[in-house]
């Protein structure tokens, strides 16, 4: 029915900073709403895909099995998939654990760290918790990613430029000050 491009977003192993930056486009949000519609996204709180999506924005890399499933479902449902922010692009700060084995990470965090109370010394092991991956994977190591928007977070201007360019089917104009890794 709708002829407007459809957008979906997700936060995987990220801090929601990129979503916050997205909202930082401020009054341009109103313009955006004219241009596109949102499907599955924390922004409209839709939990499931309801239709084919044109542009998927992924914040965060994959640190657990659930992230992988979400990412794969995005790939399946989105025509264009974008890695949004350092975490999605390269794992970001969560990937600082990548040079340490998972076992050591967990033991340090839940058993050996001085801030753990003796009675709490246990590695979380609930069946409902998604299994952690051996390391944090940048999204493009798991599925094909079409565009990358670096930054921690990427600036609102970069997100705006990328989205409007894609929606208007024109090349992105990436001024020097738009590309930042921090």
């Amino acid at each position: 029915m709708s002829s407007k491009p459809v957008i979906a977003t997700a936060s995987l192993a990220g801090c929601f900073g990129c979503h916050m930056s997205f909202l930082d486009i401020d009054e341009r949000l109103l313009e955006l709403i004219e241009l596109v519609e949102f499907d599955k996204s924390p922004i409209d709180d839709l939990k499931k895909f309801t239709r084919p999506v044109d542009i998927g924005l992924i914040e965060g890399g994959c640190c657990n099995a659930e992230n992988v499933e979400v990412l794969r479902s995005f790939r399946k449902n989105c025509r264009i998939l974008i890695s949004l922010g350092e975490c999605a692009v390269m794992g970001g700060l969560p990937a600082m654990r990548n040079t340490i084995s998972l076992k050591d990470c967990l033991e340090e965090a839940y058993l050996n760290s001085p801030t753990v109370a003796p009675e709490d010394r246990v590695i979380p092991n609930d069946e409902d918790l998604p299994l952690l991956l051996d390391r944090v994977y940048p999204c493009h190591e798991v599925v094909k990613i079409d565009y990358f928007l670096p930054g921690c977070p990427p600036s609102a201007d970069l997100i705006w430029e990328a989205l409007t360019a894609l929606v208007q089917n024109r090349p992105m104009k990436l001024d020097y000050q738009l590309i930042k890794y921090d």
Binding site: V68, L102, K103, L106, L131, Y137, E141, V143
Partner: protein, 600 residues
């Protein structure tokens, strides 16, 4: 720390002798100890950090304690073909430790090393400096038994090889395997004849004669030798040097080893002639560490030549003095590159230099230096023994004379062949008794891998130029294993100085493994090719500039093998494997993982 002090003073605190000092320190203590490093640094007035930098550059130095017997098993591709894997496992079993470790009883240390120049008698290893060839499980068992009885390695040799390998000062089980003697290297020769002829000429005349003979470098790059000598001579300087490059590290070549065993005088004589031509008083034979077993013998030959007036003061009665020194590396392929060799000969890390300036301008200790291959120098001697016209009449119009080939791999008669330039690969294959040949690697790891379509090509500078390494693979061999071996070789041997070679070779290897595992796509093939070209173009020295050749030349000549491996339809395939990625988490938490079947 008395002994280390003695060693240092024996070398007169000479910085250029750092490698020798470290070698002796290691021999004395089984490792290069902290105190030794401290003492050496203080005596040579360099920082500890720098001494550690040198130690860590070379394969044969260890700052960790080693066992009484230190075994270096080489991992060349031909060794693999001859059963290296079984030998390695047998060694680990006997020593009760892994490679890189020392046996619990402190008796045996196991190390891997790159090709040691014994490709026609693999699997080969070096044990406490002594070469062991044609190893198998039984021999390993026997040797290990002898080690437990504390028998000296030299005593473990049951039979010496042929020729000078039997010499009292060599006593090696190495075989020469000279299969075809040609007219130059293995032709008529009497020490001193060539030298006498040369010294009758003015130095410029000597250079001219070499130019007339059209001698080109036998080390691989094929630079005209006469021109090199001329450039070196022309440089104004109080000192000039001649360096004989006997680093022979290119996988699959061993001809310089045989030359130094059977025709050392011819090589040294060539150095004297070169010294006369360029105006040098000192020549250095840079002998690869792996050939240390030849050192005493070579020194003896030098002494003989000195006695006979071919070396030392007033050579051949003329007003010309020349000395030859032997310096050794400590295990690093890149030290075969001439400027890296010079750095190493100066007692430093074997990092190549930027060029220009070239060694002929700024070489050993900053002075003009001509670096020539062992065979080039031996050939120069024979040009003066027999004349440039005689030499020129052999080979082709562009490539004069003969070439030593080191042939190994799948053939009946591996070994040394002296052939005239211009021989086709097909002719060579029948000469060596190769059948059902799938591929021929010409020029070692840095050379090219040719398929049957290329067997008509000629060995010569204008077609298949080569330093002489020929490795033959028959149809039972797997091209991917060959490429993998060579890629690992380059990753191991890169000096790490420049980005494309240091980082790029690892990236290429990873991409290669993705393709080999069946997860590649057409774009992976395109990428590995592009990356290979990038590394070749932008690397700093010849090592990096040839390191992607194993991939690139097989992509050209065996493309179908790659095409078969890739998925042509997919535009993207990931190496990511969810089940594998959660394995650690399952182990830590004791949970099981069941991947949700992806609905189609």
């Amino acid at each position: 720390m008395d002994s280390i002090k003695k060693i240092i003073s024996r070398y007169k605190k000479d910085r250029t002798r750092l490698l020798d000092i470290l070698k002796e320190a290691q021999a004395a203590e089984g490792k290069i100890s902290d105190q030794a490093i401290e003492a050496v640094a203080a005596a040579l007035q360099i920082s500890r950090a720098e001494v550690e930098g040198v130690i860590s550059f070379y394969h044969f130095f260890s700052d960790r304690p080693t066992g009484k017997y230190v075994i270096y098993l080489n991992n060349s591709v031909t060794s693999g073909m001859a059963g290296r894997e079984k030998v390695a496992r047998a060694l680990e079993k006997e020593a009760n430790c892994r490679f890189g470790q020392t046996s619990p009883d402190g008796l045996i240390t196991l190390f891997e090393t790159s090709c040691i120049g014994m490709n026609d008698q693999e699997p080969a290893a070096i044990i406490n400096g002594v070469i062991f060839t044609s190893l198998n499980e039984e021999k390993v068992k026997k040797i290990a038994g002898q080690m437990r009885k504390n028998i000296d390695v030299q005593e473990m040799i049951e039979e010496y090889g042929d020729g000078a390998n039997r010499h009292d000062l060599v006593r090696a089980m190495v075989k020469n395997h000279i299969r075809k003697e040609g007219p130059v290297i293995f032709g008529d020769y009497q020490t001193g004849l060539g030298l006498n002829q040369a010294l009758k000429l003015a130095p410029e005349g000597v250079i001219n004669e070499i130019k007339k003979a059209n001698l080109m470098g036998r080390g691989g790059a094929g630079f005209p030798t006469g021109l090199k000598w001329e450039l070196c001579r022309k440089e104004k300087s109080s000192e000039h040097y001649v360096v004989c490059n006997a680093d022979e590290g290119e996988p699959g070549t061993f001809k310089d080893r045989v030359l130094l065993t059977e025709r050392p005088e011819m090589v040294f004589e060539g150095m004297v002639i070169a010294g006369y031509a360029v105006g040098a008083k000192l020549g250095i034979l840079y002998l690869r560490h792996e050939y240390t077993y030849l050192k005493r013998y070579l020194k003896y030959i030098l002494e003989n030549m000195r006695q006979n007036g071919f070396l030392g003061k007033k050579i051949a009665g003329q007003n010309f003095d020349f000395e030859i020194e032997i310096k050794s590396g400590a295990g690093a392929y890149v030290c075969g590159e001439e400027s890296a060799l010079i750095e190493s000969a100066e007692g430093k890390r074997g990092d190549p230099r930027d060029r220009p300036p070239f060694p002929v301008q700024n070489g050993y200790l900053g002075s003009p230096t001509t670096v020539n291959n062992v065979e080039t120098l031996a050939t120069a001697t024979q040009i003066f023994t027999h004349g440039s016209a005689w030499f020129r009449a052999m080979g082709t119009s562009v490539s004069a004379g003969t070439k030593l080939l080191s042939v190994s791999g799948d053939c009946d008669r591996p070994g040394i062949y002296e052939v005239e330039w211009g021989l086709t690969l097909k002719e060579l294959l029948s000469l060596v008794g190769a059948e059902e040949t799938l591929a021929v690697q010409v020029g070692g790891a840095s050379g090219q891998c040719l398929s049957e379509a290329g067997f008509g090509r000629k060995l010569c500078y204008s077609d298949l130029a080569t330093g002489g390494s020929v490795i033959i693979f028959n149809k039972t061999r797997d091209i991917f294993s060959i490429v993998r071996n060579f890629l690992d070789f380059f990753i191991e041997e890169s000096c790490g100085w420049c980005t494309p070679c240091r980082a790029g070779n690892v990236l290429i290897k990873n991409k290669f493994e993705k393709i080999a595992s069946g997860l590649g796509t057409a774009s992976d093939l395109a990428e590995i090719e592009a990356w290979g070209k990038l590394i070749k173009a932008t690397s700093r020295c010849g090592l990096g500039q040839t390191s992607p050749n194993p991939v690139l030349t097989t992509l050209t000549n065996f493309r179908e093998i790659y095409e078969k491996k890739i998925n042509k339809e997919a535009d993207f395939r990931s190496e990511f494997d969810l089940a594998r990625s959660v394995e650690q988490a399952c182990q830590v938490t004791g949970r099981k993982f069941e991947e949700e079947r992806e609905d189609a």
